[in-house]
Symmetry: C2
Subunit: 200 residues, 2 copies
């Protein structure tokens, strides 16, 4: 699961991010110290400080990378070929798969938003608006094409994103459903939510 | 929002539960001490100890009351009059309303499950199975009556509960949608998910 942090450099910074995700997920942001994180990464607190001045900077890095990756997944789906139903199905399948496979990161990203500083929080809110706008554009496109029947596009967008994000809360890698299984099930349920004709 | 704790007695125990919910929601379970909780309730740590031997006992009390209340809501809906679609719509509306109005409690209940001791965790898992079984029975009833078209009843039950529970994460009492608005929107979306004919 380290490949999601491939763009975090240098290597020491990447190790710190991975250690911080684990620590925040296990004990929560407020119960974790920079000393805990440095220790998990096999580094001294002074070595951590070279890369991140505060624990909050680490949280922001995690949140920023997590949001950008999940936004990228939706943007790729929105730019795909086929009908609006194809694009919506792809968006839901890949967004769900990401939240299942990266459930530890996704939980930290979603549950610790309130711990971000004001400026960092504003930047993450901007990314969240883009996530919302991307999903909404796919749904709106289906409505405009006459393929979907959606009385409340904004509310349905909210519900679809919420359904996918909450996979991170309950997904159990030892459970009987794989990330792909959940993605397929959810794509079908979402196409029903928007009143699309079943796809084959 | 205190009425959900009406059955917690005596008054001092109830004050401690309310203080603990606030503290856990703000800082997380692991970053909260029994001293913090006692202080918020205007009591000494020794006075807290009379009612709860450990912080974990407080978390269990909160989780137990929260799960029993939300289970009761679903059971009432399942026992209601009308068609399976009526019962499913009522179940979703009232379950969503509870998670919106009680979002602080619901977040603690959902996100801090991992901090429960083994025996307490097992008891909560039992209540969660009952929640699942109650929602599933309403959906299965609609399938059996030929009113719903649901290829995967277990998966759809999981998705419906997840959609409703996640309201606690994103709901903002200062936002433009009231708990009732979200409940109505979600009841409509869930009836679409199960392939029920629109109700009026």
């Amino acid at each position: 699961m380290a490949e999601q942090w491939d763009d975090v450099a240098p290597d020491a910074a990447r190790r710190l991010v991975i250690a911080a995700v684990q620590a925040f997920a296990e004990r929560g942001y407020h119960a974790t110290t920079t000393r805990d994180i440095a220790g998990r990464a096999g580094m001294s607190p002074a070595a951590l400080y070279i890369h991140y001045k505060t624990k909050e900077e680490l949280l922001f890095q995690i949140s920023s990378v997590g949001h950008r990756l999940s936004l990228g997944i939706l943007q790729d789906a929105a730019a795909g070929d086929g009908t609006p139903a194809d694009r919506l199905g792809t968006a839901v399948r890949s967004f769900v798969r990401w939240h299942a496979e990266r459930h530890t990161t996704a939980r930290v990203v979603q549950y610790e938003l309130g711990a971000l500083g004001e400026e960092h929080y504003a930047e993450i809110v901007g990314l969240r608006r883009e996530v919302d706008a991307t999903m909404r554009s796919i749904i709106q496109e289906g409505v405009d094409a006459g393929d979907f029947d959606v009385p409340d596009v904004a509310g349905t967008t909210l519900a679809v994103l919420s359904l996918c994000i909450d996979v991170a809360r309950w997904f159990n890698p030892e459970g009987r459903r794989t990330p792909d299984d959940v993605g397929r099930l959810y794509a079908d349920l979402v196409l029903r939510m928007v009143g699309a004709a079943p796809q084959g």
